[in-house]
Amino acid sequence: MKLGPIYAYTGGKDFNPAQPTVVFIHGVLHDHSVWILQSRYLAHHGWNVLAIDLPGHCKSGGEPPASVEEASAAIVGLLDAAGVQKAALVGHSFGSLIALETAARAPDRVSHLALVGTAFPMRVSPALLDASVSAPMKAIDMVNAFSHSSLAPPPSSLGPGTWLYGGNRALMRRVLASNPKVNVFFTGFKACDSYTGGEAAMDKVQCPTLFVLGSADQMTPPKAAQSLVGKAKNAKVVQLPAGHSLMTEAPDGVLLALKDFLKA
């Protein structure tokens, strides 16, 4: 994989080498902006925030990772480039697998591991994989509907008045369009589907692990995370009344879970 410059949103604060660092890793057809609230809060409460766009997505250069392992290498590369010896990793969905694999491969570089909306294995149906290429707009609509659990979520990322179904759909379309050369919808799903190292990776994780799961999540239902929960040595599980889009459907719940976990 060709690594290009990786964009990281810092939550409105400059990087301060004296502070601990948290890296936010998004899922398929998302970017840094799904973490607006959580990342902005931590940035203003003593943490360096690096909420990235994965390689080949939106503002980041390079090629989109073809596998969880490739993406993990990019995260280690990011820490090296930023001069960060050790960071907390927070990942959502595809991003949670990347965070997990990174914590396993480089345990001395990861202080905390937070897996939001995770599952292992993270299978994607062949029909949806096909649709991500042959009918991506329809596939986006399907994933979008599956990702939300409520027509009346609390005030969210854009503040009161945000319509989450529409916001997520628009973001997924924008991210897909951001890379005219590679279909990052398909490559992301394929990487999730083909990742086989989840349990082995969890065996190697040495830092505390937080699971933030949505009780109404249809994409990665809580029961699908149990194989990882069972393997984790020092784990805490927080279940929130939300669907797969936890960061926007339960923004405060995710923040408070992270805040408690990171002692922020």
Partner: protein, 432 residues
């Protein structure tokens, strides 16, 4: 409500943004008549002010009842979010003020509501924002009017009152080629007749006073963002893509890849201009939206019958509705507005000004007043009322003659509406 696709229009019209109140069990949306909301802690207060957490602080910026309306209209339009405003005019002003300042330029349709025409032609010029007006169907004219400082193209889904249908796909493409968004006033159509985002518009607003509320009881507006316009790629909107000293040096397009416009519009526009909607008004509009699809279907059904009657009446020289093949927008309306092109339209009496006056004064079911989109049928004489500030030339450009009558067809029995019109036309005939 999980499923394979978004919930349907009618479900959204009833449920988007609202659930039974968790503290009281109230099924209807509660009216939160509170200016302010108690902070849980000092930390939460600071986080709310710094956009680290989402919630309500002060009802000029947001309010729980108003937020339900915003989510509901955004859902019906297929947008990412919305901002409710004190009126439709406030929504238009908020859109313009968020996107540009002195030295900027707008290209707008000539077929606009008179109040919008006033804002663009007179008031905004005083603040250094210039507008070039183009006939909505003059596609080359739209393109030719664009200047380096153009920041917005703007038109109505169907122009008031001639019902010139805006070719949203084509005008949207012209806007995007120029790196600017297309703003559409969808007041006269409502999302039941057309969703402008599906056709290439970037921003949509409504005077919710009209069909959304639907009962002539409330003044309000809603501005919706489709989330599709790429402000950074355009490079013309420093307001959204560069640090804003007026709000923590926030770069709105970094904070939200698709929601930069709404972030700034709420955090600057509502904060500083303050044209927010009352929660009580929001509730009234929500009550209307619950029956929007039922009302719109009946509006269209009645309109078709009234148009047919007028088109065959000997004292009527013109009926300006795209249902008729003679209307210049007939074909475009068939394509963009298959459910109908609205229930507000004009016609000309083949007579003099006195006959027009006699016609209006003879009506019993139609009410003579300055509004449209009510459940009740309405009538007005645009040249002497809504559009009276416009010159004859501007009136002609907007398709309005001195004898033009504008109707807003309501939900009464169609036979009674036709009977009322028949008797009034008889009175007009006698006044010759």
């Amino acid at each position: 409500m999980p499923g394979y696709s978004d919930p349907g229009f009618d479900t959204l019209a009833l449920h988007a943004g609202a659930a039974p109140d968790p503290s009281t069990g109230a099924r209807a949306v509660p009216i939160h008549l509170s200016t302010s909301f108690v902070f849980e802690s000092s930390d939460q207060a600071a986080a709310l002010f710094n956009l680290e957490r989402a919630g309500h602080v002060y009802s000029r910026i947001s309010n729980p009842t108003t937020a339900v309306l915003e989510q509901r209209v955004a859902a019906l339009e297929g947008g990412i979010g919305a901002i409710a405003t004190a009126s439709g005019q406030a929504a238009l002003h908020l859109a313009v003020a968020t996107l540009m300042g002195a030295g900027s330029h707008i290209v707008a349709s000539t077929a606009l509501y008179g109040g919008s025409q006033n804002l663009l032609h007179y008031t905004l010029r005083r603040f250094g924002i210039d507008t070039t007006f183009v006939k909505p169907g003059d596609i080359d004219g739209w393109r030719a009017a664009i200047r380096p400082n153009t920041r917005l193209l703007f038109g109505e889904t169907v122009g008031n009152p001639g019902l010139d249908v805006l070719d949203i796909p084509t005008v949207g493409q012209i806007a995007h080629e120029a790196g600017v968004p297309l703003l559409v006033d969808s007041t006269l159509t409502s999302p039941w007749l057309i969703k402008p985002f599906d056709h290439g518009a970037d921003l949509v607003y409504h005077s919710a006073t009209k069909f959304l509320s639907g009962h002539g009881t409330v003044i309000g507006g809603v501005l919706v963002d489709g989330g599709s316009f790429d402000w950074e790629r355009s490079g013309k909107f420093a307001e959204l893509t560069q640090a804003y000293e007026g709000f923590h040096n926030m770069v709105f397009s970094e904070e939200s890849t698709v929601g930069a416009f709404l972030l700034r519009a709420r955090r600057e526009g509502l904060r500083d201009f303050g044209a927010c909607l009352s929660p009580h008004s929001a509730w009234l509009i929500l009550q209307g939206i619950e029956t929007l699809s039922l009302r719109m279907a009946r509006h269209m059904e009645n309109t078709a019958k009234v148009v047919e009657f007028l088109a065959s009446h000997p004292l009527v020289s013109r009926v300006g509705h795209p249902l008729l093949q003679s209307h210049p927008s007939h074909q475009l309306a068939q394509k963009l507005l298959p459910r109908g092109a609205g229930s507000v339209f004009s016609f000309d009496i083949a007579g003099n000004r006195a006959q027009g006056k006699a016609f209006i004064e003879a009506l019993k079911v139609f009410s003579h007043l300055a509004n449209v989109g009510d459940a009740k049928s309405l009538v007005i004489h645009p040249a002497s009322t809504t559009h009276f500030r416009m010159s004859d030339e501007a009136l002609a450009q907007a398709g309005i003659g001195p004898g033009t009558i504008r109707l807003s067809i309501g939900l009464e029995d169609a036979a009674d509406l036709i009977d009322d019109l028949k008797k009034a036309l008889k009175a007009a005939e006698k006044a010759a």
